[in-house]
């Protein structure tokens, strides 16, 4: 009941003209960004971080959430019409959606995806309303050791669950932690890694790190390998669904959220795994098994619904615990820091207007998105033809605006380029970018919580594990660390099969998808 009242108050906040405007701007930008190749929601939110200097937090977060959800909608358009999934969440959409588009059923694929996102987002957000206050209540009196445990969990999860190589993930995390160390120590004022530079003593602004790694790094990387002739999108009409299609899709829409939401809430790589799981589930339950691989509509409907629900799940951990489980959540966390707001259990008490306004605006955004995407899909698809030089020049331009807006100093732009070059090198050598960003954002906070916890316990390490909450979190951490060993013990068949066939081009055997890994995206598009 209490949550319901708060939600109604939230609608009061979300439906003010100005906030409606921000929601509309967010979903429009988000859809465009999702459709545009090369830009993902995390890069978009990073590029927009400078608006936090001029906007009130509620408006800014309503816009960011709109971008997050909108990019999910738009991302599937790219997957279906181009077969080159941009967002990691949209990989699965290409598997059935692209064959559908090729055989002239692109309109139905787009409709199944759009309604799937709507259904998934709605159910996911309802679950968010139901669960988030409870989680926040449970966690309300967590202290320094618990916060530190959560941050350790974020570090471990982001390096060992995402990406294909743990060493490389760890290297990326340590690079991020190092950047986070630069500046004055928060507790003692001691200079660290400043080399006597006054500018470095202020630390490296998180906006510059996020924009440098996500935007400049990406633009430079693409510039080095720019495809001479971009792939041609498949032309498509207005999305619609026939009665037969509806009969096949509604169950998939309904099942997707319950697979997507839990995976979004835990640090397991966002939408990648649940979309794949939903794909497998729908395939097993389908009455039209012969169509799979040639364009089965359930294979679009289910995973897309799971993807949007996972976005809602991500918000649960981000808002109630301050635990970012995806790149977008990490950048949103950086935005919270810009405002000096600490996401966590107290957020619901201290900033009810912000939180509930944000949640209510998700419902508003979802309706706007459905209205935008169903009739206008062919218009959005035109964005796929944007000349690539303009696209990447635009990214460089907005990155420069953002970095300059931080402090109005040219040296920040130089720093941005340096971090961009680091991002370039990371992409070249397969170091994932997300751990570095998480390291920069959470590193300083984690150090503070660690020192606070040890101060309370007077230096005894037991001070880190003296609450049930922290013990539980560390148990999860141990489980994550042991997971590869466990997994190696389980599906031996699949691993040996993959190793014997040396050629990396060999697609995974679709007959045994439950044993195979979820498909890695064409690079976690940020």
């Amino acid at each position: 009941m209490n949550a319901l009242n708060s939600l109604l108050d939230g609608f009061g906040t979300a439906l003010t003209p100005l906030n409606l405007l921000w929601a509309a701007v967010g979903v429009l930008l988000g859809t465009a960004i999702g459709v545009l190749p090369g830009i993902g929601p995390a890069m978009a939110v990073a590029l927009l971080l400078p608006v936090t200097y001029g906007l009130d937090p509620t408006g800014a977060f309503i816009m960011f959430a709109g971008i997050y959800y909108g990019a999910m909608f738009g991302g599937s358009t790219t997957s279906i019409l181009l077969n080159t999934p941009g967002e990691s969440a949209a990989v699965v959409a290409a598997m059935e959606g692209n064959p559908m588009a090729k055989s002239g059923r692109g309109a139905q694929a787009l409709a199944a995806a759009a309604v799937g996102h709507f259904a998934g987002g709605m159910v996911g957000t309802l679950l968010l309303v139901a669960l988030a206050p409870t989680v926040a209540d449970l966690a309300v009196d967590i202290g320094a050791p618990d916060y530190f445990a959560i941050m350790v969990l974020a570090f471990i999860a982001v390096t060992s669950v995402l990406g294909s190589s743990r060493v490389r993930g760890l290297a990326s995390l340590l690079i991020g932690l190092t950047i986070g160390l630069i500046g004055l120590d928060q507790m003692t004022g001691q200079q660290r890694l400043t080399f006597g530079s006054l500018h470095l003593a202020d630390g490296v602004d998180v906006v510059i790190v996020a924009v440098g790694l996500f935007a400049i790094g990406e633009a430079l990387w693409v510039a080095a390998h720019l495809r001479r002739r971009p792939p041609e999108p498949i032309p498509v009409g207005r999305p619609w669904l026939g009665r037969a299609d509806l009969r096949r899709t509604w169950k998939a829409w309904a099942r997707g959220p319950f697979i997507g939401f839990p995976f979004g809430a835990i640090p397991a790589g966002g939408a990648e795994i649940p979309t794949f799981l939903s794909y497998v589930t729908e395939k097993r339950l389908s009455k039209h098994k012969d169509e799979w691989g040639k364009g089965a509509i359930e294979g679009v409907a289910g995973p897309e619904s799971a993807a949007s629900a996972s976005a809602a799940g991500t918000l649960v951990s981000m808002l109630t615990l301050g635990l970012p489980t995806t790149a977008v959540a990490a950048v949103m966390l950086a935005a919270f820091q810009q405002y000096g707001i600490q996401p966590g259990p107290l957020l619901f008490e201290r900033e009810p207007d912000l939180v509930w306004g944000l949640i209510a605006s998700l419902f508003v955004g979802m309706v706007l998105l459905l209205a935008l995407n169903l009739p206008l899909a062919p218009v959005w698809a035109k964005l796929l033809r944007i000349p690539r030089p303009y696209l990447y020049a635009g990214i460089m331009f907005f990155a420069a605006v953002g970095a300059y807006a931080v402090g109005g100093e040219v040296i920040d732009l130089v720093m941005l380029l340096v971090i961009g070059l680091i991002g370039f090198g990371m992409r070249r050598y397969g170091l994932p970018v997300l751990p570095a960003v998480i390291g920069v954002i959470l590193g300083p906070a984690a150090e503070q919580q660690l020192r606070r916890a040890l101060q309370i316990s007077d230096g005894s390490v037991t001070g880190l594990v003296n609450t049930p909450f922290s013990v539980t979190v560390y148990a999860v951490v141990v489980l994550l660390l042991a997971w590869p060993l466990l997994r190696r013990a389980l599906p031996r068949r699949a691993t040996t099969a993959a190793e014997s066939s040396e050629a990396p081009e060999t697609p995974e055997a679709p007959e045994a998808p439950e044993a195979a890994e979820p498909p890695t995206p064409s690079g976690p598009r940020t």
Binding site: P99, Y390, G408, L417
Partner: protein, 192 residues
Amino acid sequence: MTTPSTPTPASETSTSTAASGTKPTPRTTTSWLRDHSELGVCALLLALGVLVLTDALTMDVDITQRGPVGPKTVPVVVGIGLLLVAALLAVDVLRGGRGQAETGEDVDLTEPADWRTVALLSGVFLGSAVLIEPLGFPAAGALLFWGAAYALGSRRVDRDPLIAAVLSLAAYALFDKLLGVPLPGGPLMGVL
């Protein structure tokens, strides 16, 4: 079309990618170095680790130390971590592991890297950064967009500068006037 045609194979083990990467061709030093250029990453991580450790250990904390954990501890941990990861990564690379270069919609990894474009883009970026103060943001921003588009291969002399100017002015208006983030207008805005 029975299999999902995702552009990248899900190569869980980095070793399987290496199998196709290393060819049984002449074992000269240069080609070995090129195949193992990732060792450069290890060297950089090692250097970074040494830097962090040196900085931490030369810190003078006698007065500022408060509580059992001072400002040194975490940098020392991070520095040791960097050294460890550098070593582990080197072992992985020498055993044939390779980091997988990131792919994407507009990325064509079959072509060799185009360093000219990267250098040109970086140059344009630095050049415009220096010009922001004397020329003002709208002019420098337009130069940045035009220059970047040029570096990326756009040669429409009629259209590119126009788009650059409109974008730059719009961004200036949005940030400076609407969002209240001050950007220098420069002499140009003084005239307008």
